[in-house]
Amino acid sequence: MPRNNNYGEPKKPAEAFKSLKRLLGLLRQFYPKLLPVTLVCILFSSGASAIPAVFLQKVIADIEVFSESGDWAAARAVIYPKVYVLIALYVVSIICMTLWQQLVAIMTQGFLNKMRCKLFDSMQNLPIRYFDTHKHGDIMSHYTNDIDTLRQMLSQALPSLVQAGAVVVFVFAIMLYYSIWLTLIVIIGIVLMMTVSKKIGGGSAKYFIRQQAAVGKTEGFVQEMMNGQKVVQVFCHEEQSQKDFDAVNDALYEDMYRAHAYANALVPIIMNIGNVLYVIIATIGGVLLLTDVPNLSFSGMPICLSIVVPFLNMTKQFTGNLNQVTQQINAIVMAVAGADRIFTLMDEQPEADDGYVTMVNVHTAADGTVTEADEITHEWAWKHPHTADGSITYTPLRGEVTLDSVDFAYEEGKDVLHDVTVFAKPGQKVAFVGATGAGKTTITNLINRFYDIADGKIRYDGININKIKKSDLRRSLGIVLQETNLFTGSVMENIRYGRLDATDEECVAAAKLAGADDFITRLPEGYDTLLSGNGANLSQGQRQLIAIARAAVADPPVMILDEATSSIDTRTEAIVQRGMDALMKGRTVFVIAHRLSTVKNSDVIMVLDHGRIIERGSHDALLEKKGTYYQLYTGAFELD
């Protein structure tokens, strides 16, 4: 099956803009009140941090005036009120700042939480095909990397952008208010700064891309070598692999050094250009003071010391905040790319379920009439409403499954199954054998509608499975797969996964049936032992036994065992087999196994080859036929 890569070509700007709009739209939708409050607070606090420069200028002007007279009392009457206004502004600024920073913290985490849940919900609704065709690492990176970029953007980039942007505008206005000449010089400096940062930034980007590739290569190499370290030692290959590693490592160093060298140099250079600008403004301001060039400004004030001094501070504020803006834009571009990938998953077509036949508890009266029950009766039936005449029929759940000339392809044009017909009567055991890729697992994927068939019919108790609600269909089928997947939690919880309302006793009974009770009770904490990392603390066989118990507790009329016992050694299998036999009793069972000993006692064995059933019959009948099954059985064929 082809695996798609999520990280293909970067999206066009128009589409990126769409994602940004959608992201902000969601933010507004989640926080219709908090968001505007936050924005207002940010604007207020940035305004309040820019305006003091005006007061500073006024106070300095006053000092200049009064320092000649030395009349402190008079000066105080003029200066202190201004300082009080200043302090009031500061207080407002601090309150606003505290408020918006707290609000941003709350909104960021709340938003991420909602996005995470939305993402998880969407993911749960995706069809199995999605998981078969996408790398698990890529899906995971939506939750880790992509959500992280959103966090960066919401908690830092966006607020900083708004705040710094506002400060830039305010300061710029004040600068124009004081002196257009000096402002012009600042603008020239800014242009220079931008040019340099673009140039260095470009070089940095180039090497960062190369570094990314080198990092990938090194990680791949390291992963392979660490996994194969025991083989390395068995073959005394240590020196060679050290040499190979050093080559990869040196290449990584070169790219990493260059990428960081550019990035590191950028910040001090930009900052120091800001300093150069500061010095130039100071000097030119001085020159202007001395030469009496007429000032050009919106305030109409002449150039004087009380303008030059605050202007110097504003220059710093201006360049500093402008740098902030440019840096944040980078973070936002990255976040939009992340958001775009998240939205792509959310927009995937969810698994459709238009089934209307449901599984319900019923009572069967003595005369055979079936009535629906609200309570648990341990008696199930398919409730089948007929749209034509509005009537409802109840079909008892028996576990008869038929496949009628089924064709199927994962990809258009590459048929995996052709014309497969299978009848499984209630209680029958049907086995599929054949080489890898023959289509055995595919058949089970179709019965529980992980995939939908292209042509033909599959019926469950005579009802076309397309009409059955998927969740009910799957509840009526128990599956045990070769690759066992257990979940973090206790052994008991894992067994109960099969039926959430099962009592502890029922879970233990299921474990006993599967032959798992024995080892579970010997675990340090018995049924309460916590499993972690897919049950890494258990052996493969033990995990398999828990999976079997999990299916047993669900107590479905039909079971699918896909290589369920393949990782259990033959001795242990003898023990498990008893449990399995008990489990299979009275159920319709589909078995897929490599070990022919596992399928031998099936009612009917299907030999699959390239998607076709080439032989069918009981074990004895097939042996007599001396066909493919016979060859498999005598070991002339290799199955893998």
Binding site: G110, E224, G228, M256, N275, L486, L500, T572, E638
Partner: protein, 580 residues
Amino acid sequence: MFRTISRCLREFKLPTIITILFMTGEAVIEAIIPFITARLVDNLTAGIAMSALLRTGLILFVMTLVSLFCGGMAGMTSAKAAAGLAKNVRHDIFEKVQTFAFSNIDKFSSSSLVTRLTTDINNVQMAFMMLIRMAIRAPLMLIFSIIMAFIMGGKLAGTFVVVIPVLACGLLLIGKFALPAFRRVFKKYDRLNESIEENVRGMRVVKGFSREEYEKEKFRTAAEDICKDFTKAERIVALNGPIMQVCLYFNMAFILMVGSKIIINGESSINVGEMSSMLTYGFQILIQLMMLSMIYVMMTLSAESAKRISEVLQEEPDIHNPETACETVADGSIVFENVSFKYSQKAKKFALSDIDVQIPSGATVGIIGGTGSSKSTFVQLIPRLYDVTEGRIKVGGVDVCEYDLHALRDAVAMVLQKNVLFSGTIKENLRWGNPDATDEELIEACKLSQAHDFVSAFPDGYDTMIEQGGTNVSGGQKQRLCIARALLKKPKILILDDSTSAVDTKTDAFIREGFRKYIPDTTKIIIAQRIASVMDADMILVMDNGKIAASGTHDELMQSCDIYREVYEQQTNGGDNDAA
């Protein structure tokens, strides 16, 4: 811990020192600039000549250019130093792992070694880069600024006596509460991601049991919990800004109010320019304090990674090469004398106990036993992949501990149960066994392991690329290539640890037939699940629970050993074919 890592700096000490020098230069200049600007402004008030003004302006201009140069250069040299440190640490870890015994590898597990070689080193690199720049610059700037402020401002500098302790305490308190909160929440966050991964992997189970809604609910609860903790932690950190702001504003108000009084009253020689420089210094001092707290946080976070790295670097390999080593292995005879073994000193249970076996050179030995019976452990002691806990093992009449490790392992070829092929061509993979092997020798080995037919059927034959993890060959094919690779060593002892489990019985028989015919002098030890694979061996060992339960030929064991007979009957009756 930090010393272990700093020892890896080696040739990158020079760029590190240069970085520090450049940073010092930048810090000094940046601290002086406001001082000189203040003078410039004063001169302006006093009304100076144009030439003097331009001269001061030029001095300042040159100073900022020097500072720009220093900053830029420090950026580059620090990148070099940090990338170099990372490179050396990676090299050292990899080198260390090469000396590890199996027990060391087991202790760390390969996935954790991968994390240490990648993520952890990356964290340390970033921290180091920041450290050599900021950890020098921030305190320097801080001290300079404080000194300058006091020299220039006199009484005005009194404000810092209030502001600095307030901010420092504030930052410390925030750090004290936020750091543990973040640690806790990151742990929870990791667990959440693990459970997502479980879901992605187990989607067939989730959907098979129709548990989508249940999983969503479970996820929502966990995510909600994390959201709450995260918000709490973030809100603590969000106090940083306001505290900083309070101090900054207090500073400004104080300087304006007190400064204006001092200047107008002429209480001291302070003037407007100096007052405005005081504001700049005040800003710088607070920023540097903030920087210091950031450095502290970064250091504590990367300390975790540094610890994990130095754990590997300080790990002592469990197996050492003897100093006066025996370089040649005489023959393929093996003797176990009273051998007991446990995986770690602390383990209560012995994995193997009281093993006494004598295997003559050239013999074929089969080993049978259930999972957990320590079959693999038994054979891994022969090439000294683990050292015995008690007793001793002799190969070719000499204790394995007396051999040079390379010599011993070249003579004892082992095909591991969990075997891997490496990315590269089939030829390259085979040459692991013998780098100098000719093409003919490769083909010969592959014929013997029954791999030649399918290899030559590939379009590229022996030049076919094997993908990482060997995913483009089937299990049985992989096993046969691994056997060929081992055969190329021309070993005195060949060990197959369940190495033909995915090979069909017929091919399996051919392989054993080949061994008998073409390498009769090599001692062959075969671990197998299938009795058929060991039936014709000279000696069969039945292992159970870390002990040899019985030994003998097939016929003898059928007579004397219940376990053996039981397995045999089950396999033959059950259709002796488990091709899995």
